[in-house]
Symmetry: C2
Subunit: 308 residues, 2 copies
């Protein structure tokens, strides 16, 4: 029955839970049928669709941005927190926290238009590689999750990203890598200012935070952007727990999934100790809240795409 479906997933409880859920909600006339408009699936990005260790990819982007700024103004190299970026000083970077890092990243983009940012992001993504895996960051996306996204869409689902990362960087590659169009990406963001430059209207990135899309803000942003409770949600950290519970506690059939990074050999093993995206509460309460745990080591046949 499962031949050919989710080819990068090993047979087991997690794969069965997914296949069973999709079969039920698409079975017209069955008790658990869900019409296509309501087949909303939301995915976290960092650690759920691509790797987030030793830093979220957006931090590597920020490091390179700081280096560019330092090329114009060498004094930056001696000033914190910029010094920490140039030196890959883990302790200092972790101490800034996820939101602190995001706000700093946003500060380095202020004054650009959305179109200018897009050009910079595309150039960086096309050429930058992960220090440990030696692959383009866009090739550090998880093969089993791409299979799952495709499988869900083939079954009438709309797939969304709901990420703590900056919305614009994700939008610059999500269409090509995940098949997720820009309007189906939700993330952290700054306020945009409408401006006319030489009679051309532009959206300028400001320094003012619009949304840090983590924890309780994730379901709130789902309400704003999607306006519908997802029937499937997938995360990997405590920052996703509110979204998982929002998806899980609606009426009718529901599936909430949580990746456990337990694969030191193929990727990396971490949970409680990873400060930027800890997995403590969600792991401890998964059983109680009806969240299905996915073990990277056990449930995934491959982690990255071996052909890339």
């Amino acid at each position: 029955m499962t031949l050919g479906l989710l080819p990068s997933w090993n047979d087991g409880a997690a794969k069965s839970a997914i296949l069973d859920f999709v079969a039920r909600v698409t079975n017209e006339g069955g008790p658990d049928y869900v019409r296509p408009a309501e087949r909303i699936a939301t995915f976290d990005n960092d650690g759920t669709l691509w790797c987030e260790q030793p830093f979220q990819v957006q931090v590597f982007f920020l490091i390179d941005r700081v280096k560019e700024l330092a090329a114009d103004d060498p004094s930056i190299k001696e000033r914190q927190p910029f010094k920490a970026f140039i030196e890959h000083d883990h302790a200092t970077l972790h101490s800034l926290g996820k939101q602190g890092l995001m706000e700093l990243a946003f500060a380095t983009h202020a004054g650009m238009s959305e179109d200018e940012f897009y050009t910079i992001a595309r150039r960086w993504l096309a050429s930058s590689t992960h220090p440990k895996f030696g692959r383009l960051f866009t090739h550090c996306t998880y093969r089993p999750q791409k299979d799952l996204l495709e499988y869900l869409r083939a079954n009438g689902f709309k797939t969304f990203i709901v990420s703590g990362g900056g919305i614009d960087l994700i939008r610059a590659f999500a269409e090509e890598e995940y098949g997720i169009p820009r309007e189906q990406v939700v993330g952290s963001s700054v306020k945009l200012r409408f401006e006319l430059r030489d009679d051309r209207a532009e959206l300028m990135k400001t320094t003012e935070l619009n949304s840090f899309d983590d924890r309780d803000v994730k379901p709130a942003n789902i309400g704003l952007h999607i306006g519908r409770r997802p029937i499937l949600a997938f995360g990997n950290s405590d920052g996703d727990l509110a979204m998982l519970r929002y998806a899980r506690t609606g009426p009718g059939p529901r599936l909430a999934l949580l990746i456990h990074h337990d694969d030191a050999e193929r990727e990396v093993a971490y949970d409680r100790e990873f400060k930027l995206s800890p997995l403590v509460e969600a792991l401890d309460t998964a059983l109680e809240y009806g969240i299905t745990i996915v073990s990277m080591k056990r449930d995934w046949k491959s982690v990255f795409d071996p052909t890339l």
Copy 2:
């Protein structure tokens, strides 16, 4: 060539501009070809997709909400601004302005969950009629615009609403009436708060304004929700001008359209004097900014759907 396309539109400059534009952007290999992912079309709602006179539909919804509140607490009838709603006192209501009315509407929804609001909105929409036209409000949608939305989607466009009205009320009917799913509706909104009630996660509507989606905020919200500059935008008032210019001034083929309500016989004729949604600057600058004016009287074969 145009047989069967846009059947509720009269032949003329506006219809030709639309048909010509769509033919160019879908002509693969042609100089103006636009790939489907970039075929984004944004529409204002009040006065563009359905009527907005004598008040925006959301004001009628608010009037009925105030009446419900007054049934529980009769003292409301004597207090302004509520008194003005119960008495349909145009002067007082207009003096509150578009944002003032919207914020008042939001105040009457605070403390409800998104799911509760949806139930109330659906019930109201299913039974409430327009005082002048005697039709359900949902049947005060414009037949030619529904033709246009369908025609655009049949040509690979994604159609969005970008409205000053409350996002949730629009989402409660846009799918059925316009074929526009909830996640493709952008509008004014309050901040939502994630809350657990008896172990069920809910999004609660707060009193804090998140966004009043008018004027310069429209393109900024397009940036947030869609992340892509529309190639076609359609509005009817000065509140839409920033969105029209944002769409019109990007690279490649562009179409910006503006309805002029000049049809006293079939709907109503107004522009400068309608305080809640005035058409002054957009009308005066349309030629200069390359905006195509659509005359309701001249360009539309019918206004409402004659079969409803």
